[in-house]
Amino acid sequence: MNILVTGILLSGTYALIALGLTMQYGVARIMNLGNGETLVAACFVAFWLYTGLAINPLIGLVIIAPAAFVINWGIYAVALRPLVNRAKNRGQLEVDSILATFGLLFLLQGLMIVGFGGEYHSYTFLAERFEIFGNSYGLNRVVAFAAAVLIFVALWLFLYRTRQGTALRAVAVDPDAANLVAIDVARTAAFAFALGGALTACGGALLSTFYTFNASMGVVFTMKALIIVIMGGVGDVRGAVLAALILGVSETLVASLIDPGLTLAATYTLFILVLLFRPQGIFGRAPT
């Protein structure tokens, strides 16, 4: 029970990060391998806001999310749109965007290492006990989970209740057909990429309240987000949330029952199983 709750609390943050990536890959068709760096950058900003200006990380979200949105829109417009325009087919865009975002990954990571050094950072925020079913957990984890759920509900309402959200889903399904029904695909893609960046940054800010982070850990989180996105089915919001739950719980299971050194191996085993049996994702239909 203890393990299950810890896993679920962890998966809230994972879901946010994976939702960010699924927006970027599912809608904007950019496999953003620098996603984890957005997360780490948000961790550092939250850290700086809290220790420097004494701004509560939850209020910090109000600053971090819009900033990440604007910056990611800029990255898309400057660095990625030329690749989209140049690509002759989907495969070419995939290879190009993977290489370009690798470039971004290393560049951002390098800048952060120069700026903050390689040490681990953390700060104390709401480090109090909180009881669920007779066991106690860190209040910061519970609050981070609740915030993640709130953001997820807002995203859900946006995607399924607004015109812009519907356009986003349409582009995810078929960009050509979306174009035919007068959706500005290029603008929607940029919007999705920026939104994805903002979601990931929220994930990072929440993560920083209970997690020790350093400048070079982004890659591991990119890995996890990628695996969640593929497990859930590319562009599928429900799938991403469910996959994040599965991943969070199984990681916690392996870490507490077998060995904390094997969490990535656990993640990977799941990934291999998905690739072998359901490459289209949990809710996806097999290609005909």
């Binding site: 695996i227 990977y268 990934f271």
Partner: protein, 320 residues
Amino acid sequence: MNGITRDEIRGLAIGAVLVALAAALPLLDKGFYLSISVNIMLYAALCTAWALFSGPTHYVSLATAAFYGLGTYSVGLGIDILPFPLLLAIAAAAGAVLAGLVGAATLRISGVYFVIFTFGLAELVRQVVTWTQTKLATAMGLYVFTDFTESHIYWMLLALAAAVFLTGWAINRSRLGFAMQIIGNDETVARHVGIDTARSKILLFMISGAFIAVAGAIMAPRYSYIEPPAAFNPMISFLVVIMALLGGTKRLWGPLVGVIPFTIVMDIISSQFPNHTSIVMGLAFLTIVYFIPNGVTGLIEQGRERWRRRVVVVGEEKTA
């Protein structure tokens, strides 16, 4: 198999002369230049082996560090009980088996899955090795004591690089190479003319993985103490991708053009500004994508093509 053309004989002769010249290097210097030449030779072998698979298929493999580490560990574990040449063979077999498994799991589906899978593979193998070592052995690392000098390692790497080149040349002439050409151009067409595309790709990936593992095995004596973070260093995977793409993967010798300057640059950067290596790698990736998507050899060929066209135009004007 077709007869060998005159061009090919000339290419082989030039290659043999270059190998002989390169082999003479340790006789001239045993210090800094030999040491950096070992790195150049290592990356020459790694990048060419990488491009054997990734060149024609356009699949970006990030598994290099996994194969390399596997090779290093094969030597580390067996050096006290088995002769070195046998360990090289074991490393090759281990690399091929791992590549076969990875290929079977991912090469039937689209390219992105392959990139993501190989992206974390080295990290996964490293975690498993670290875990088994802490459970089964008391020490974290392994000692590798041999009589090999830097010159020996250099010569072995040179021989390996030559072997990779010969293999690449033989593949290009074989049915497998022809199949890969068609797959590279259009996979649907390849499938329709009856090529087992997955099998061809897996086979090629296995050859490439085996060579990379042997490179790791040859390098093992140079470390003398092997630890998982050094053997499965993910940096190796990324450097190989950068160097190979920088040089260009359309020609067998393309990666070499990227390896030599980039190894020297990275050597300077990592000794003078160790904190800035990531930034340099990031900029290198971006430069390749935006400015030289076909590599330096692609640029050279483009330039040569343009020059040839201009000569033809000028010639036509004269005759008109």
